[in-house]
Symmetry: C2
Subunit: 316 residues, 2 copies
């Protein structure tokens, strides 16, 4: 069955429903980065978002749209990353039980963060299949609603509120950029941009090493990655059947960047903007630095997607 | 000769003269740090200030108040730290030549930053006396006006604009805190607080290892440090005859913190607030964490003084 198309006006409804559950993150500027890139950059600081990433938006919205019966039985996901923390806190905010399946090799600090938000953690084997099987087992046992981190209507609409605020605060952007991982953020960015600033170009950014989305746009079907060898650990996942049609119809293109370019952009953000950004969040700036001509003289909005990083284990 | 006392109303004049030369830095909050400390924290992000620290305020004001004749001959300081960059850029902004005496062992990255701002760098030996002698030699040769990084009327009034903005944006603070190094920032904080919110307590924070200001308040004369062994490299200097009387009359007290407490507070700021802060800037938060009872339930303003740090050389 073809998934029901999302109408751009649904972003308005999503924003009204959940914007009070998240921070309206500031948009920052940097003269030094403007000089370096030759364009006028606006940076939406989702590293300041609750739980340290934009994922809090999608998680909050996904919990908010559940029926009372669904809320009673709780929510469930499998993730070792930012969505785990986000769903745990969003559920806690709304008085809903959260079950989070995390692989046995997940970083202890991330497991502790999810537990601090009051979620029940279920440990699975470390292969993707292990997690999915464990999640299905929990779903059958508890009746909890499974929420996918990126390929879910309500999650995509929640992520759309980031670009929605961006265009409200900066109605003059020529280009808006976001990293492309599982596709939830970029799909939401497309919906909000089509709604509020349809003449603004939308460009994705992705590591060369996991360029499944780039190849998917070429082949017009969902491609996967042979390896997951990138420092941008939030961008290793593939697109899904709900977000891919949106991406296919809305994106100007995807710029791919090398690992060294990601690290360099991350260091610029830390040292010049004084912001703690995770590698995935530095990918759009790396793309601007790589193709300066495309952006010269333009007003470019970058979604700095998150800041969850172990500061004792940095690539520089 | 007794230096002429600074009237608090002079902060108004200083603000009017130079506020357009600097950023009005945002005031950020953190629910997690509020929970951790038991008070309501407001953080004035001078790490986002031009040149990465509050020093840009004092330098901009010190250049702005010069006579046309003085501006013609240039400005001069000796510094290997944030004031060197700040004076170089403030001078460039205002079309004034800057001479910066830097010790031969100054970090290359800092020398390069000062040079990028168009200042003339004069290299001296590494002992404090070497720098002072070299600065005096440059002064006699060029006729440039020497500007002290912290013990200078115009510099103190410039630093005061930080707390001035803080109280304008947050007129309800119970306590305002700043680190104590050479005394320029804390003296300016006192002046602005006496002007705009006289019932607000003013508390300084200082590393145990360089607790000259703490001891100076005890003995009521300017004390020096036997060693300079602290990670908070911005706080190694002593008070001066212009800022000390202000500090003596205006400070509730100074809280001293251990090196490990500074590093821990710095890590909280990085990992929880997602801000790049230099060690000196973390000292006030370390003080709040050390004496939670003093701050319980209060609205506490912290001046996060700067973010200039080599991210490839971190203490965690």
């Amino acid at each position: 069955m073809e998934p029901k198309k999302i109408a751009v006006e649904e972003v308005d409804t999503a924003y009204d429903l959940m914007h009070k559950m998240v921070h309206r993150t500031p948009i920052l500027r940097s003269r030094l980065l403007d000089e370096l890139t030759g364009c006028t950059l606006f940076v939406k600081t989702e590293n300041f978002q609750r739980t340290g990433s934009f994922k809090m938006r999608g998680a909050s919205h996904a919990v908010a749209v559940l029926s009372p019966e669904q809320k009673e039985k709780g929510v469930l996901t499998h993730s070792s990353g930012n969505f785990a923390q986000a769903l745990a806190l969003a559920a806690k905010d709304q008085g809903v039980k959260a079950y989070i399946v995390m692989p046995e090799n997940a970083p202890k600090v991330k497991v502790a963060a999810v537990r601090d938000y009051g979620a029940e953690i279920i440990t699975s084997g470390s292969r993707p299949l292990d997690r999915e099987e464990m999640a299905e087992e929990v779903r059958q046992r508890t009746g909890a609603t499974f929420i996918h981190p990126s390929n879910d209507r309500a999650v995509i609409l929640g992520q759309a509120t980031c670009a929605y605020e961006f265009h409200q605060d900066r109605p003059d952007l020529h280009v808006i950029m976001a990293p492309v991982g599982g596709g939830g953020l970029i799909a939401g960015t497309i919906l909000a941009t089509q709604l509020l600033n349809p003449s603004c170009s939308i460009i994705g950014a992705e590591p060369f090493n996991v360029d499944d989305a780039y190849r998917s746009l070429q082949s017009r079907k969902i491609e996967t990655n042979a390896s997951a060898q990138t420092i941008a650990d939030g961008l290793r996942t593939n697109l899904g059947d709900i977000n891919f049609p949106i991406i296919l119809g809305g994106l100007e293109r995807i710029i791919r960047v090398e690992e060294a370019e990601i690290i360099e952009a991350m260091q610029w953000i830390w040292e010049r903007m004084k912001l703690v950004a995770e590698p995935s969040a530095a990918v759009p700036l790396a793309a601007v630095l790589k193709e300066k001509e495309r952006f010269a003289g333009k007003k470019v909005g970058l979604i700095l997607s998150g800041g969850n990083v172990d500061v004792s284990d940095l690539p520089f």
